[in-house]
């Protein structure tokens, strides 16, 4: 057991437990806050994988934007779901079974894939600055410029789409935009 392994086990335990509480909490605001903890755990795992830029992006986008939007939506729609009513539908046990089955299958398959075996160790990182490598790759014509542009078009479409969808029926400018 090295220190890195102990840190990994602690962080992933927190992450997995928080994820379980996300789907198990009766109170949706609590569920959303557990989601924040789970996302933060994944951000720490990114740091362990030496992808510090992605860790910061995880905090900015997932924790700072997506999770807060979810909390916002829960607060706006708070009246309909009382916590005393069951929070899961009547087929929840099938869902649980399916998830468990999938997990077992994935673990079994993982043990047979050679590149996932425990003997595979981290390769040395390249010499150059990873951040500038990523930056140039995203705008390089031989790199990922097309997916990058498609992603920006997707974001624009999502922005306009959510504006149109969430537009109030009567034009009372009461709400802010949720994008």
């Amino acid at each position: 057991m090295t220190i890195a392994q102990i840190i990994f086990i602690a962080i992933s335990a927190i992450t997995v437990i928080a994820s379980i509480l996300v789907v198990a909490s009766r109170n949706l605001v609590h569920a959303a806050l557990w989601l924040v903890l789970s996302l933060a755990g994944v951000a720490v795992l990114f740091v362990l994988l030496q992808a510090s830029f992605l860790a910061v992006v995880q905090v900015v986008i997932y924790i700072g934007a997506i999770a807060i939007l979810i909390i916002f939506a829960v607060m706006l729609t708070r009246r309909v779901m009382r916590e005393t009513k069951p929070q899961v539908n009547r087929y929840w046990w099938i869902g649980a079974l399916a998830a468990l089955l999938l997990f077992v299958t994935l673990v079994v398959i993982l043990n047979q894939v050679p590149s996932a075996a425990s003997s595979v160790s981290e390769l040395p990182l390249p010499e150059e600055d990873l951040l500038s490598m990523l930056g140039t790759a995203l705008v390089d014509v031989d790199g990922f410029v097309l997916p990058f542009e498609v992603a920006s078009v997707l974001l624009l479409a999502a922005l306009i789409g959510s504006l149109v969808i969430a537009r109030p029926i009567k034009l009372d400018a009461e709400e802010g935009d949720e994008a």
């Binding site: 924040v36 916002f72 607060m75 600055d129 400018a173 802010g176």
Partner: protein, 336 residues
Amino acid sequence: MDIPHLVEWTIESIVIVVGLIAGFAYLTLFERKILARIQVRIGPNRAGPWGLLQPVADGIKLIFKEELIPNRADKLLFVLAPVITVVPALIVLAVVPLGPDMMIFGHNVTLGIAGDVNVGVLYIMAVSSIAVYGIAIAGWSSSNKYALMGGLRATAQMISYELALGLAFVGPILLANSMNLMDIVNAQRGLLGWYIWLQPLGFIIFLLAGIAEVNRDPFDMPEAEQELTAGYHAEYSGMKFALMFMAEYDKMIAVSMIAATLFLGGFWGPFVEQIPLLGPVYLLIKTIFLLFVMIWMRATLVRFRYDRLMAFGWKVLLPLALVNVVVTAVIVLVGG
């Protein structure tokens, strides 16, 4: 990760945190004094000479107030919310360089904890995006409709203005060609090198969005006394209220200090190269000037209406910030 560095970081962290706490206390006095002067009053002048002990008296009063927790509140979150609000305000300044390198007892000491980290600007973005949580949780856990409204307004306002704030960062990043705050500061030597001359629009957008981020007048909708009684901290009392209050003022200090770093040349000023210790002093002077501007705006301007606030953020500030980014990028690309 040797011992002298650890000692250096510990001392600097303690200095920053203690400085922010003391700064909060005296910023309240500063604000009351200036508001009083602008409104042709005298301001607090009973506790100590020129009212200098007023923050201490306020602190003692708040310690002895009764701590109330509403009956139907979510108790754990209610207690946790002030802490979550304060922490981002205290840690955001970690990446701001406070002064140039200097020699102390034969060690090369950098003033500022992590001014040289290469994702400094992203760190500020990340921390400021976490800052929403304390307010949202405080509003929700109080189980009070005014608090909830305040929390909702604060959340919507902060995520809206964060976009303009983030885009205002891009100008200095492009000009300095770095996300490292130390590089950005070092690129602004001399009064004419300040980025406020190259980025006047960026500076104004940053200041406005920053004021909206910390929920100050004229963007203090989340705590508008007249319509929401006090917004998200309506149910807070005693030291928990003091923590909420402290977070707000520390965020003001942080926004001013970051604006001074990005646009006003940070710690550079006359004779800093000869006497490095002057660096923090210049940074402090610039910060206090920006704080004065914020208080001045509070004394002068009336509160926005809520829908106009959102419309201003999305329809005026965000397009302006985008135009600013595009123009800056083209000029940097063409002019080298």
